[in-house]
């Protein structure tokens, strides 16, 4: 079973590496959003430090939402999703494989780029480190939650808008605690409480969302 999971991850990552535009769209969007704020707000370092956690996290959230629609769409169009639905294996497990691959392609690059982009906001090394941790724990949660919406809106015309409407309420707790972790670090309180909560959310999402996504896939493919 785990072998199948590894196969699915490998397949999706291989495909993504062969058509790199999909990967870069998300990443470039993230880079542009975060780099525009210092230009728009002006060079006042105090203001920049203040808005940094929020801007980086909102950027990450929007970027991951942008990528969501693609999660099952290609598989749905070429018929491989049918084969996945008919596989003699638990569907939630295969869903986890799809989401892990999706996060590796669209989430991990954001985590890697974030500290570099954070430098524009004059964040301390410590705050940058917490930011990376918060994104590392938070972005997989975003992918897992988003998968439910992506599965529900599969095959709909204005899927993208609907995905956004469906997932935004679910994303807000992750945003609050993700940005909160960095904020707490810069203000000297320490971000470990926020990080623990993000970790808890990730575990909860890992347990619950694959089941919901699998059910949603069966509904929307029928």
């Amino acid at each position: 079973m785990l072998e199948t999971l590894a196969w699915i991850v490998r397949r999706d990552v291989t495909i993504a590496l062969r058509r790199r535009t999909d990967v870069f769209t998300t990443l470039i969007f993230f880079v542009i959003v975060i780099s525009l704020f210092p230009l728009g707000v002006g060079p006042d370092l105090d203001t920049l430090r203040l808005i940094a956690p929020g801007v980086v996290w909102v950027g990450a959230l929007l970027a991951s939402m942008l990528a969501l629609e693609q999660l099952f769409l290609a598989d749905h169009r070429d018929g491989t999703l049918e084969q996945i639905l008919l596989a003699p294996q638990p569907l939630p497990l295969l869903v986890i494989g799809k989401v892990v691959a999706h996060w590796l392609i669209t989430g991990l690059p954001l985590v890697v780029m974030a500290p570099v982009l954070g430098l524009q906001y004059d964040l301390s090394a410590e705050a940058l480190e917490v930011m990376v941790w918060s994104l590392l724990l938070g972005t997989p949660t975003l992918s897992l939650l988003g998968a439910i919406a992506a599965a529900l809106t599969l095959g709909l015309r204005a899927g993208g808008v609907l995905v956004a409407l469906l997932v935004l309420p679910l994303y807000i707790p992750v945003l609050i605690f993700g940005a909160g972790a960095v904020e707490a670090t810069t203000s000297g309180l320490g971000g470990s409480a926020h990080l623990s909560l993000l970790g808890a959310m990730l575990l909860l999402a890992l347990l619950g969302t694959p089941l919901a996504t699998a059910a949603a896939l069966r509904v929307s493919s029928g």
């Binding site: 079973m1 072998e3 199948t4 196969w7 699915i8 397949r11 291989t14 495909i15 062969r18 058509r19 169009r77 070429d78 018929g79 491989t80 049918e82 084969q83 996945i84 639905l85 008919l86 596989a87 003699p88 294996q89 638990p90 295969l94 493919s221 029928g222």
Partner: protein, 184 residues
């Protein structure tokens, strides 16, 4: 079992329902006496469904596609076995080309290559003969015959007849009342 009927008569819908992709409005589909949604994993273990779509990834080559598909089916296919299989069905030289560069008929043959390594008892095939050339049609008929002679079952929609040497053929025409049963 042949499923026949004019375009739009619901052949594909019936096949998708039988495969468990659609839920039946009324009635129940059973496998081994149990409703298929209760024994989903066991049923899907014995099922091979090929729809209109080829279920191939355009950016992967045929070998990768077949191995991926086999892995999802929990029936792993070794790399050299995949090469051998593609050579056997006349796709030598296409093994490491991304599927998007293959012709429609070649793609269909890659998709149908799953039949050669399938261990499923029930094959549900939606228009398997479309886009194939004469030689491939013969090869496909042969593999379906071999499957049936091993005791397997096949449900297919087609406009061609598969010549059978043994077994029972059931001809269902959508819109008519009674299935026609023939013994070969």
């Amino acid at each position: 079992m042949y499923l026949r009927g004019p375009n739009g008569s619901g052949k594909t819908t019936l096949l998708r329902t039988l495969a468990g992709l659609l839920r039946a409005e009324t009635g129940e589909i059973r496998w081994d006496g149990k409703p298929i949604h209760q024994v989903r994993e066991a049923y899907h273990h014995e099922l091979l469904y090929l729809g209109h779509l080829n279920a191939l990834k355009e950016d992967l080559n045929p070998v990768e596609n077949l191995r991926m598909d086999a892995a999802v089916r929990a029936n792993p296919l070794a790399e050299d076995a995949a090469w051998q299989l593609l050579a056997n069905i006349g796709l030598r030289g296409c093994e490491d080309l991304p599927v998007k560069y293959l012709s429609q008929g070649q793609k269909r043959r890659v998709a149908l290559a799953r039949l050669w390594v399938s261990r499923a008892a029930l094959w549900i095939l939606d228009e398997p003969f479309s886009a194939l050339d004469v030689a491939s049609v013969d090869a496909l008929q042969a593999v379906i015959r071999a499957h049936l002679s091993r005791g397997g079952m096949a449900i297919l929609t087609t406009h061609q007849e598969v010549e059978l040497t043994s077994g029972t053929v059931c001809l269902v025409t959508l819109g008519s009342d009674l299935p026609e049963v023939r013994h070969a």
